[in-house]
């Protein structure tokens, strides 16, 4: 899969503090890339560097196979819609007037504005002053402003920040729809739940460093879920010297590999301990994060 964004050793230092440390991002084309990390982990700074709003201290950025430089930036930005830190918008103007500003700044057609408003379902509220919009409507207007240029890449920084669950679901559905249309979406969040079920590829940032990058499946491979052995006689199993914790269904074994699982099952069978079921515990993404970060808590 070709990459829309790649970075090599991307670093940003503010005085003595390194906000982003040697980042090697790889954002494939046509995916929703979830950029996760706690507040202050360097997500916004990274996104600003990707848009040329902040100059990297060192390292390089390649967008659409072209290096991002002051000379190429203007041309590259034509294909990139963005919303950084918070949705833009002029409160004293209506939603439509805000969109007209984007239209005139980018020489867009009326149909592009209408389509962007319809995509975020703001057409009915387009003549309302933005200062009277709800937070969710302001976020959607921000997305519409980013979408109006019909970008190939959408960079959204915390687009669900401050939204209620319904608003979060709405944005999530919208971004998945956009990705299905071939738009690459890079979306950041400090909340795991907002990214889960939306992102195809994840990049996890902690303290300015990329501690994981890959698919959800690859992330799960980083962590071995606990094993549950359902048995009506856990005492007999423990008497065999198996290290496990008795639970309601039987036994729970932690950090056990496939080979070790086979060996435990063999020993139980030989000893005549009844086994009703052997299964792995279904892990949440949060459990995996906890494992990944040494249970130090990432989010």
């Amino acid at each position: 899969m070709s990459a829309v964004i790649t970075t090599h050793g991307l670093t940003k230092t503010f005085r003595n503090q390194t906000a982003v440390d040697s980042l090697d991002l790889y954002v494939p084309q046509g995916v929703v890339y979830g950029f996760l990390g706690p507040n202050g982990s360097g997500k916004s700074t990274t996104m600003k560097m990707l848009l040329g709003l902040t100059r990297p201290t060192s390292g390089g950025i390649t967008l659409f196979d072209r290096p991002l430089t002051p000379a190429s930036r203007t041309d590259l930005l034509r294909s990139i819609g963005s919303m950084i830190e918070a949705p833009p918008g002029y409160g004293h103007l209506t939603g439509l007037e805000n969109m007209r500003i984007v239209q005139h700044m980018l020489d867009l057609a009326d149909t592009q504005i209408d389509h962007a408003l319809a995509t975020v379902r703001l057409t009915a509220h387009r003549d309302k002053l933005v200062r009277n919009y709800s937070l969710g409507m302001k976020q959607r207007l921000g997305v519409a402003m980013a979408l109006a240029r019909e970008p190939a890449l959408l960079v959204l920084d915390e687009p669900t920040n401050g939204l209620d669950p319904a608003g979060i679901e709405e944005i999530r559905t919208l971004l998945v729809e956009l990705a299905s249309e071939g738009i690459t979406v890079m979306v950041s969040s400090h909340l795991l739940d907002e990214i889960d079920r939306m992102a195809d590829v994840l990049g996890i940032l902690s303290g300015g460093k990329l501690i994981f990058q890959g698919t959800r499946g690859e992330l799960f491979e980083h962590s071995t879920p606990d094993l549950i052995i359902e048995t009506p006689d856990p005492g007999a199993a423990l008497a065999l010297g198996i290290t496990a914790t008795p639970v309601l269904e039987g036994l729970r074994l932690s950090g056990i590999t496939k080979e070790q699982t086979a060996e435990v099952v063999r020993r139980l069978a030989v000893a005549g301990v009844p086994i009703h079921e052997v299964r792995r515990v279904r892990q949440s993404l949060e459990d995996v994060f906890m494992d990944l970060t040494g249970r130090g808590g990432l989010l």
Binding site: P70, L77, H92
Partner: protein
């Protein structure tokens, strides 16, 4: 780009400022003329001189500072600045559009001054004689003369990202401007200081300020050429500045 900037002026706070300051000048000028009618016998010329005296020294330039700061304030609130910097427009287009938008509100301020002066002179003071064309010409010249200050204040408001700081700088310039047009020693400064250029332009043909130029090509052209040259230099500096700001 200019059309985008003009949309931003809708329901903007620039309009009350652009309305209030010239009306204040007309009101004070009218009161002053009415209270000194026995000494001020020059009719329209004397009345207009009273109107533009403080307006030219302070209100007009300060108004430009306020208008530029208000115009830029919308960009510095929230993340609109990011929106501007992620358009694919050249920095020069952005600077020129902002300058033009501020100039539109300055032109409106001048229109209010001229219309207010005419209405007050004709219907409040009931001055004799036809409508003096000089008022309109000086009003238009002042718009061009204001361009350097419009550019400077626009750049300050863009770079400082503050409302008050650029206005304070403008006020300091006004004080220096008053000194330059009233003192022989500082007079050369009045030819390059934007606030002083405004004062000189508005007082063309005035009887209230000693040393005011006349409304002739010899008096007008140096002001216009200096203003246009200075504005061009300031725009060039602004473009260089925004390039540095953009990829900071």
């Amino acid at each position: 780009m200019l059309r985008a900037e003009l949309i931003k002026l809708r329901r903007s706070a620039v309009w009350p400022i652009a309305l209030a300051l010239p009306l204040l000048a007309v009101t004070t000028g009218t009161i002053n003329y009415a209270n000194n009618a026995d000494q001020l016998t020059g009719g329209w010329v004397a009345f207009n001189s009273q109107v533009v005296l403080f307006y030219g020294l302070l209100f007009f330039s300060l108004g430009i500072g306020l208008l530029a700061a208000t115009t830029w304030r919308a960009e510095h609130r929230g993340t609109n600045w990011n929106l501007l910097l992620t358009t694919s427009r050249r920095p020069a287009a952005l600077i020129l559009a902002k300058v033009a938008a501020t100039a539109v509100s300055v032109a409106f301020m001048q229109a209010v001054l001229v219309v207010g002066t005419l209405v007050s002179g004709a219907f409040v003071l009931r001055l004799d004689g036809g409508v003096p064309w000089q008022l309109v010409v000086v009003g238009a010249i002042a718009i061009i003369a204001a361009l350097p200050l419009v550019v400077v204040q626009s750049l300050l408001s863009m770079l400082l990202k503050s409302f008050a700081a650029p206005v304070a700088v403008c006020l300091a310039g006004c004080v220096l401007g008053v000194a330059s047009v009233t003192s022989v020693g500082l007079r050369p400064l009045s030819h390059v200081l934007p606030q002083a250029i405004n004062t000189r332009a508005l007082n063309l043909g005035s009887t209230a300020l000693a040393g005011s130029g006349s409304l002739t090509p010899d008096g007008v052209l140096p002001i216009l050429l200096t203003a246009l040259g200075l504005a061009a230099v300031c725009v060039a500096l602004g473009v260089a500045a925004i390039r540095r700001v953009k990829l900071r």
